[in-house]
Each structure stands twice: as C-alpha cells, then as structure tokens.
C-alpha cells in the first residue's frame, strides 16, 4: 500500500478524505478513498472517473495536485497534495479580518487556476468556497473535479444540473444545455462577492427561488441584456425586479472592484468576462497589490477548518448522480494500524 492514512479530514458525496503519509517519501498527503456503493452496481463512481480523468491532465500551482492513483482491494484511491483548510472555513472564521489585498490575492489565484482549466477546454462546474482549498503556504487551489467536463463540442448537450445552487449561473437555472466557461466565471463572481461580504451573496433557498434572488440583486435582464434568452429550455415569464446598484450593498468596495464583479456577473453568457480578461482587469493593477500568499489571513494553522465538518452548506449540491445528502455525522475516531 502506497499510503498510511491516519485521520479523516473530510467527507464528500462520493469519497472520504484522510490525512495520510506516502510510505516511500514520507510526504503528507490527502488520501481520497472513493466510496464503494453498497451494491457497487456500476463499478467505479462516475465522479471519481471524472476527477481522475481531469486531474491527471492538469498541472498548475493553483490546481490541487494529484500525486498518484492506485487501486486497493478493488477500491480506487486518489493521492492528493494535502491542503489544511479551504476558503469557506476562512470566510466563516470571524476571528479573521480580510483586507482588500487579501481578497485580491485569493481571487487572482482562483482565476489563474480557472484560466488553466479553461484554456484546456475543461469546465469545473462546481466552484464554491468549499472547493477552493488553501495550502500551508497560503496558495489557493481548485479542487474537487467530480463534476468537471470538456466543453466546446457543439454537438454534445451538457447537463444543466451542475454547480451548487448559490453559485449556479442564470443560464443553468434556465436549463441551458449548451454553455461554456461562463458558468465557472459566474460562480467565481459569487465567490468574489462572498469574499467582500463575508456571507454568501446570492443565497436562494430553492432552485426556483435562486433565479428570483439573482434578479432581486441584479435586476431582471431584458431582451437587450440577453439576446435569445427566451429560447432557453426552462424560460418562463420572469419576475420583474429593478437592479439594485452594487454600491448599496458593497459599501466598502472600490469602483474597480465593483467593475470587475459586475463583468463577472453579466447575464448574457458570451458577454461575461473570461478568466484571462479578468486577470488583466485594472482591479489587479490598482493599489493595494495582492497580498503575498504566505501573509494571507488564516495561513499556517490560524483558522483552519474544524477536524470534522460541523455544518453542511445549506445549498444542496446539484449532482444528479449524487442525490444522497451528506449530513454531518460526527465521525468516530477509529484506530488505524496499517
């Protein structure tokens, strides 16, 4: 066996994650053990297949590194670099204060990782603070590629049942089956806003309610804002809301900050800013500069995530293959001798 695992650090929909050590090198890693369904009716979980497929191809400082994959007792194990905390834990930790340079630094790292995915024509499709992991050195890394897929083949329809609700873009909520990197940019915009507000920005309580929540914040798009909106499969008479100026909610944010945020949350998907263009936005050139990762709040143990997940995010995850809800059962610490 390549790894000796010790402590369970997280539980996802299709895997348990343990802190572990590589036997050969002694390197601390995260061991993601794919759950075998009780019936194991269909073999290896399709989310695991996706994650392995894409992480094998992606190598970037802002994408979680897949050191190895191996099978043990018919079960597939992913050996990932170990990342002690995530952005959700840091946002929720009220003991930490964020400066504008901190937010800029996190967003920049996230966009760099995302640009790397997009230029290889890969969509992440499940961006949320909980899936942006943070290393001991402060580096932010995109993780959890269980919903990722290739895009760009116009002949192939894509599922609109992706992305956790609060981060789901309007075209997905309207049932679009042909979409692109815009869905990830939208999610990233929501994360950007959440970093500024310290609470989820567009927290709808149902799938239908999500669209209302979005329109209430950003105004209902008219035909000019979104040519062809009425052609989307789930299009219906939209509730009409006026646009609230961003300034009223984001009181402390500078104009460049809001300009970038608005460009990430543009309704019409093709007009939404790309990851590359976002990285070139004035926001990143203005003062203050992005905080060096090692100096970010929550780095080196401060504000790490609790050992077991206490609260599961309210928004249900929209993975059609993963409808079982994981509630936070306290995990009995078991002795492990391997």
């Amino acid at each position: 066996m390549a790894c000796a695992s010790s402590r369970k650090v997280g539980e996802g929909t299709y895997a348990n994650v343990y802190e572990a050590r590589m036997l050969r090198t002694g390197l601390k890693v995260a061991l993601k053990k794919i759950k075998v369904s009780k019936l194991r009716a269909d073999g290896l979980d399709v989310s695991a297949v996706r994650e392995v497929k894409f992480l094998r191809e992606l190598e970037h400082p802002n994408i979680v590194r897949l050191h190895d994959v191996y099978a043990h007792k018919g079960n597939v194990h992913l050996v990932l670099e170990f990342l002690p905390t995530d952005l959700e834990a840091v946002i929720k930790n009220s003991a930490l204060t964020f400066g504008p340079g901190d937010v800029k630094s996190w967003l920049m790292m996230a966009l760099r990782g995302l640009h790397h995915c997009h230029r290889q024509l890969i969509l992440h499709r499940d961006l949320k603070p909980n899936n942006l992991l943070l290393g001991r050195d402060g580096q932010l890394k995109l993780a959890d590629f269980g919903l990722a897929r290739d895009y760009g083949d116009p002949a192939r329809a894509l599922s609109s049942q992706v992305v956790t609700r609060w981060y789901r873009s309007p075209e997905l909520l309207l049932g679009a089956q042909h979409y692109g990197p815009g869905v990830d940019i939208w999610a990233m915009g929501c994360i950007f806003a959440e970093l500024l507000l310290r609470v989820p920005y567009l927290a709808g309580d149902t799938d239908i309610g999500q669209l209302h929540t979005i329109f209430r914040a950003l105004g209902t798009p008219g035909a000019a804002d979104w040519p062809g909106i009425e052609l989307l499969p789930d299009y219906h008479a939209l509730p009409q809301y006026p646009r609230t100026p961003m300034r009223t909610l984001f009181t402390a944010a500078g104009s460049e900050t809001l300009d970038l945020l608005e460009r990430m949350l543009v309704f019409y998907p093709p007009a939404r800013i790309s990851a590359l263009a976002a990285l070139g936005h004035r926001y990143f050139k203005m003062m203050p500069p992005p905080t060096p990762p090692a100096q970010l709040p929550g780095v080196a143990g401060v504000g790490g995530r609790p050992p077991t997940k206490q609260v599961k995010l309210n928004a249900t995850k929209a993975n059609p293959a993963a409808d079982e809800t994981v509630d936070a059962k306290p995990v009995a610490r078991r002795l492990s001798f391997t």
Binding site: G74, Y151, G180, P270
Partner: protein, 437 residues
Amino acid sequence: MAAGAADEAAPPVGISIGKLSQRAQRREVIENLAPPTASAQEAAAAAATAALAQAAGTADTKGGLAGASAATKPAELQKHRQLSEQSTQLRHWRFTAEQIAAIREQANAVAVARIKHAVAREQALHAAAGTTSPLFPAPLGDSDYITAEEQTVLCRYFEIMIGQFRHILKFDVTLQATAVAFFRRFYLFHSVMEYDPKTVVLNCTYLALKVEDKYMALKDFCRNIKNAPDPEVLLDMETKVIQGLQYELAVHHPYWPLHGFFLDMQAHLQTTISIPATLHAASKKLANLYVESKSLLQGLIFSDAIFQYSPAQLALGCFVTTGNDHGFAQEMARYTEDRFLHVASLFPHGGLVAMVERIGQLAKAQTAALKEDAGVRARAAPLARKLAKCRNPALLPDTLLFKQLQAEDAERQQAKRSDKAAKEQAYHDALDDVVAG
C-alpha cells in the same frame, strides 16, 4: 462565416459558445500540430522496460512510459507544444512504429513466460491429486501460444465490435474512438492470453461511456449487448482495466481538430478569394471535403496511427489528402503554406507534405480495410480457438492453480488481520495500563 456543416451543429442563439469554441478549436489545431520527436532507440528501450515492469505486474504503475518527450527540442517547438505537452496522451501514449512493435513483443514474451510457469504448476497440482488437467493435458509447445502479431488480428475483431455497440447504444464517433483507444492502449501492454478480450472490450466501452459523459447503468448496458457476461464479471475486471490504462482516461481524437481546420480554412478562403461567386463555390466544396475527410479519418481510429501521430496531424493529413484527391490541391497547398510555413521546423522528415502523404496513404489503407468486415471475422475465428487453449491457468477460475492461489491469498490476508488485531490488542493493553496506572 460561410454556411456549412459547422452551422448545423451550432447551439441555439443566446447561449452560443460557438465563437469561443471555434477559436478554441483553431487554437487547438495550431498548438497540437507538432509531430512526435523520435528519440527512437532511447525511448524504445524505456518503453520496453516499462512494458516489462507492467506486464510482470510490479507495483510501479506509473512506469517510465517515456514516449517521445525525452528529447530536447528547439525553443519554438517548446512554445507550440507547451499545452499539448501536458496531455497524458502525448507524454505517455505516443510511440514510433518500432517502439510499438517492441512493446508488443515484450508484453507477449512476458505473458508466455508467466503462462509456461503457471501451466507447469497446474500440471503439478493435478499430478499430486492423481488427475490430469483437462485444459492442459500436455505442456504447451512454443507454437501453441498466441503471438504478438496474432493478437493484433484477434483484437481487430473486437475493435470492430465497438462500432456495433455504437449503433446499439447510439453513441457518437468520439465516444467510439475513446473506447477503441482504451482497448488498443490496454492490449499494447497486455496479452489476450491473460485478459479476455471478450470482457475487456465491454469494460473499455463502458468506461468510455463514463468518461465521455454518457453514463448508463451497467445492467442496462449489459442488457443491450448480445451475449454480454454477467455484470459481476465486468465489475471484477474494471479496476484492472483502469489500472492497465495507467488511470489516464482523457483521450483526444482528430475529429475536433478536423473541425478546427475546416473553420480555419473557411476563414482563409475568405482572405484569398475576392469574387463572391467563386468564394461561395469554394466554401461549398470545402464543406463537402470536410464531410468526406471525416470518413477517411474513420479507419485511422482503428489503427496504430493513434499512437504515432497527434490528433491534429491526423486531421490535417486526412483533410489535405481529401482535398488533393478532389481537385482542391491548390487551395490546400496555399492554406498549409500560409498557415504553417513559419513553423516549418515542426516538420522534420521531409516536412509537412511528406507527413500528409504518409497519413493519407495510411488512412486510405485503413479505411479500405474497415470495409472488409467479414475477413476480420474469418481471420479471428481460428485464433479464438487457439486462444482457448493457451490462457493463463492462474486466471481461470476452474483450475486447481486458481483455487490454490486464492487459498494462499486468503491465508495472507488472515495473517495480516491477526497481526493487526494483535497490535490493536497491545495498544488497548497499553491504554489499560495507562488508565489503571
């Protein structure tokens, strides 16, 4: 943008990613066009060693499948390959014809050696029990084993079968190409004498359905396929197949780059032809050529070309060849010169023209071969009979050796468990001492 086949497939307006994906396709074309750098002997040796290690079942799953990436390349090449360099397909699954042959021979030799040993054990077990092995009444002679060459003939039959699955399960050519690539990759390093192609072909197809997001329940999959084995059989094999594929599941095909070339060439025509009527005719012709070259590609998917060339090279080869054969040679030449002359250093061994020629010939031969389906079956049948007599008894559930190995394994597990229990007990004892103390 001129009308053509591309527009038919375009998504509804308003959510169009058309522009973006076109740009992406064109970019993919340019960036992935670099041919393999043949660091022949060196990489062949590395690959053969890796084959040996893998076939021998050692733990080193990643192996040193060094492919073509070892050689030093000029800076320009580096730049152009930056992106594609990362793909596991380019790093681990590109080989020259010589390398392919060497790997196959190695894998075969290793399997034969292992089977010889296993057959001897099986016969010894029978002798000890006072019986004779029904499967192996006598030792196998050297000519009783499936050779590397015979394996490719036999495998061909199963690859063609994937095409039939495509019609039954209604998946697209890309998914088919992924399934075929999995199957070819797997049997490059494994022997049919040890892994039953009847099962593996289904595993590869089912895995491709998962990988290409056309997931279906395994029982539905099996129900749709005639003579499919029990789902349990497929489940037992799945992990082995994924492992045999080095957990590298992203496969790139020429279809997409072909579409990219088509779009790029349409754009190019617009810059070179100014008379509207002429442009219209040329665009229409181009659209036909695109469809035509797609079917020319089809044969390559089932050949070693997928290991020897990048998807973009195969696409360009087929596209230009089709053009040359249909009175579009001049336009093709102008296009390739305008677009690729500045990266001429990317094309050693006689340049782009020679490469196109090689691919074109290969494609024609392969596409013709695809048509003689009956021949494939006739050639495979005697080999299937031969195969039934030389399979590794260690992997056949009915043999004494299989049972023996299972018993040995269970024993080892038991020993491990009791060792663990003892450790746990010792821990609890120590804990009790602490608590008591």
